[in-house]
Symmetry: C2
Subunit: 285 residues, 2 copies
Amino acid sequence: MAAVETRELRYFVAVAEELNFGRAAQRLGMAQPPLSRSIAQLERRLGATLLERTSRGVTLTGPGEVLLEEARVALEAVAAAERRTRRAAEAADHKPAVVLVSKAGASTELIAKLLDAYAAEPDSVAVDVQLCGPGQQARLLRDGHADVALLHAPYDSLAGLEYEVLTTEGQVVLLPAGHPLTGRTELRSEEVSDVPGLPQPRWPQADGSYLEGPGPEVRDHAQLHGLIALGRASVIAPESARANLRSDVVAIPVVDAPQVTTVIAWPPHSRSKAVADLVRTATRL
Amino acid sequence: MAAVETRELRYFVAVAEELNFGRAAQRLGMAQPPLSRSIAQLERRLGATLLERTSRGVTLTGPGEVLLEEARVALEAVAAAERRTRRAAEAADHKPAVVLVSKAGASTELIAKLLDAYAAEPDSVAVDVQLCGPGQQARLLRDGHADVALLHAPYDSLAGLEYEVLTTEGQVVLLPAGHPLTGRTELRSEEVSDVPGLPQPRWPQADGSYLEGPGPEVRDHAQLHGLIALGRASVIAPESARANLRSDVVAIPVVDAPQVTTVIAWPPHSRSKAVADLVRTATRL
DNA sequence: AGCTGCGATACCCCCACGGTATCGACGCCC
DNA sequence: GGGCGTCGATACCGTGGGGGTATCGCAGCT
């Protein structure tokens, strides 16, 4: 009787996000009437009104909001199943490999040490390292693109992941050399957020677009450090960012910024020996 | 391009579990040929051989095992989406309620205190308490039957759940009064597992069936304590089980048994205020 | 009133899903 | 070794439902 299909969930998510049947249909590459019918059928099947229709558009009901949230995670789980199976099939042909993902520019030293140590383990496999924008790692893990990730709490959400803590460190603010604040030995976060002319930069979203905001748009760390050196931006980063600093950028500790915890995380139910070995190696560093 | 449907996943899981197309088709209430075709189509779509067909039956390939694991969690996520939406719809009509699940017979005192304390909170909602067999709580949480659970690590798996630790305690073994070992003030676990004639009982699985084994089959704690008093079984339990003991059953500490940690757990992405309040109340007890 | 944008309804078509019949391959047993 | 049973694959067919187009009903706005 139940039998909710992923197609219906995809349709519902599209409508719930667009709040407009026409645009949702367009996004789905189909006409509007069958979409209306599909949603109506889903509502009948669930015995719940998901959307409030007006002639001006659509709003979500309470159950609708619940389903939007739940459908997203369900669809990610299905996508993960698909991708992991595909990857397992490729691994059967060539060499098996595990995909490790980390925020671009963070913990490069840690990654290098980890890869070296892991490669020395008995029956270690190839490790594909993928670097991505901030906040993307968890999604890549959940949707099956990656097997294991380095995350930074509290910035990255650990919801629904298994993890082991690796390191904890304070934070520093990166400023252009010669800036008035660089004389200080420490700063408080409210002093840093108000610095005129030094906004925090904006990183691209998953789709490559940028949110609106005052800061400059950046794509990589060279660009970011360049902008900081030029006095066009500042950024708060973990202490370990000091390792690879240019001479025209200085780091000042921010004493009241939250501690950053670096963790190695993997999706629950992951039974892969390679991931387990990698995690064990990481915790022993 | 992608578009894996839950129907296909259900079909695959059925075949992978039965390792026989005919029986799987029967279980699914359909004929065998369309099932064969569906699986073949899924394999084409994923670009992976999932099953090795022989004329004697079927075995799983590597990618097939991956998909079996992943498909189960994906299907549970879909089922959870469905159930939580249904429950949200009912909640809209009547009173909203949160479902708390715990192992039958465990932590009754804790539950009572928790319910009292939570009921005294501002805008608390009704709490449905469900008791289930050991090891079932996590599944009920993951598939949307429940919103929050009391679990006992390391017996229950916390994979994919968020949780807060409530208490930690040692374990005792429950023996019939008068048994030779009851003279001891403490025991080691190997002494307990070998006791002749006192096997550990077997609890029903999710489907109500029992695994094969030496111990007696039990359905509830009255039955269990009766069997212990009669000298037909023994069981290792957390210390708190001492609270409600009959006079003909005695508890002896097992010094090397793992510590049992009682946690309150909930599914990730749970946005409900009621669950958050309940968890906060529990951690303050 | 007329126009515009929205979702629902009416109607149609076609494919994909499911059913029946049958085949081909393999193991078993007398 | 030949007959038989088991199991999955193939061939063929019918139908239902998912998707299309055309149109309606309704509400704001000018």
